[in-house]
Point group: C2
Chain length 335, copies 2
């Protein structure tokens, strides 16, 4: 079954990256996928960049055949987008939102194996009348809608070639981290990570590690008390449940080559603690994986990059890695 890939914001780099990946699919050994897009946007971007790419507007069921025939399968949407690109172009929120919702609907209906999303901006969601703080939360709401009885608690994982990290708190100010660093939040996230490493990544006995919130993991309570009062009890609670988790350990000693061999995923206290190591090591190949959903979803770890859209210089590596990882996770999905 093919993967479904949303085109993301039509004015950003998503469409051109998909065209470039399609063009190089043999060399990149890409798994079959189709794009949920306004085909006029794909045609316009191919024309801008001088790509000679035959596009086949088709159904999800026809997609694998079109893919094999050498035509980029595009499943059309009801809404249309402005076909120009750049930051000054009026947003096309309806088509962006439709693509995401349709992707989930296709997976639910067994028409696609998993979802890969190209980048959007939060503004598009707001403009479409949604209150979701971001792409991932919107997918969580869609999961709840389509799988009403399954738990859907989206958890962001960053996956690089040899490091996986999970920020336990994400897009909040540094000043708000301590209050959000609760035993309940840590254990909820850890359970989802352990479950998905087992069920999706095929790691039979996943090894987790928890980074301390404070420098030196609080150094015995002398640099903040949260690691004594919150991190330690969370680790104990998880161990008592049979989850293999070490820590809390000092964040700065966790990510060098020897340390990385000792765990399958590192739970970090906050955004930069999680994203800095993985993006320092493999900026272009880092993939955003959403755990805790009843379906596979990955996305590249970059934004819409309006400033370079249509210039043919955007790096496709992260989206390539996202599509590949989605295919691997769908194969391994034993839920």
């Amino acid at each position: 079954m093919p993967l479904v890939v949303t085109m993301g914001d039509p004015a950003g780099i998503g469409p051109e990256l998909l065209l470039a990946i399609w063009r190089d699919r043999a060399q990149l050994s890409m798994p079959p996928f189709y794009v949920l897009a306004d085909s006029a946007v794909m045609e316009a971007r191919a024309s801008d960049l001088g790509f000679d790419i035959p596009i086949a507007v088709c159904t999800p069921e026809e997609a694998s055949e079109r893919f094999d025939e050498g035509r980029l399968p595009v499943v059309a949407l009801k809404n249309y987008a402005d076909t120009r690109c750049g930051a000054d172009i009026p947003a096309s929120p309806e088509v962006i939102v439709e693509a995401i919702a349709t992707a989930v609907e296709h997976v639910k209906a067994g028409r696609a194996s998993g979802v890969v999303t190209a980048p959007i901006t939060k503004k598009s969601l707001y403009a479409a009348g949604f209150q979701h703080p971001g792409h991932t939360e919107f997918l969580g709401a869609l999961a709840q809608q389509y799988w009403p009885v399954e738990p859907a608690e989206p958890v962001m994982m960053l996956a690089g070639p040899d490091l996986r990290t999970v920020p336990v708190t994400v897009h909040i100010p540094v000043d708000a981290i301590s209050a959000a660093w609760t035993q309940e939040r840590i254990t909820t996230v850890a359970r989802i990570v352990a479950k998905d490493l087992r069920n999706r990544f095929g790691i039979v006995e996943p090894r987790l590690v928890l980074a301390g919130l404070n420098p030196h993991a609080g150094e015995g309570g002398t640099i903040g008390t949260e690691d004594e009062d919150v991190s330690h009890p969370a680790v104990e609670e998880l161990r008592a449940e049979g989850i293999n988790i070490a820590g809390p350990l000092p964040g700065d000693t966790l990510f060098h080559a020897r340390a990385r061999k000792t765990y399958d995923a590192a739970l970090c206290a906050y955004h930069d603690q999680a994203l800095i190591p993985v993006k320092t090591l493999a900026f272009d190949e880092t993939v955003n994986v959403t755990l805790g959903l009843p379906f596979v979803r990955t996305s590249p770890d970059h934004g819409t990059a309006f400033d370079i859209a249509s210039r043919g210089i955007a790096c496709p590596d992260s989206l390539v890695a996202a599509i590949r990882l989605a295919a691997t996770l769908c194969e391994g999905d034993v839920r």
Copy 2:
């Protein structure tokens, strides 16, 4: 002129690392140095590890000659230490403190070119009756004592083979970072870093970058207001003074290979934001450099490691890098 190296805590790994580095000095192309130590500790550790190392107790002036003759120059101290090692051994605070103070005195007197310090624990300073929060602050106080008219504001820099970072706030809880993130603190640190990159590192026009405090550098004020209210004005103030500084930029996009080529040092908001990237890339070779002092001081970026002391398994790479960098900085010192 030789470098002076303190033995650090006699019960930790400092003495054995110095012995190992001395033994391999030719192969490691080590610059001349002498050790400030209780020679009985050095003899005991050499004996424990089966090292056949001739020790010459001498003056700083005789050290380079002894070094060239093939004897490890040790300048003796007034205080003695327990020669055993491990965490359970009673601390020897007097000799630890004497070594540090004597090293600074030797540099002030023109008997040594710069100071390298092996690790101690803060407890030793407290046990000796000091209130300094750490090694570096103690060196700052000594600088003030010996160079009363020169400014001494110790600033910690982490230097790896291809990345230098400076935490603007250091050993404080995450919950205290926002209050400590002031325009005055950022500009004070940036001026010291720019000056020392010029005067010690020989970088004629140093390029600095400032990492944002909050995720995505606050994303225009939607994830915390400090980057708008504090980081931006700090960067503007510094630029108006002629300091080349970019930012605030999102912390997670600053440390990959391409990004690292765009600056000579990254100023980071807090401990883990600064230490994670440099230690992820080069854990064993990261050196702690103290800027803002009237003399060169480096130290390895690891602790006393009591648990592995005297077992011959401690990695000397960071102390090797610290000694080498101190020699380079002393050569380049144009103050």
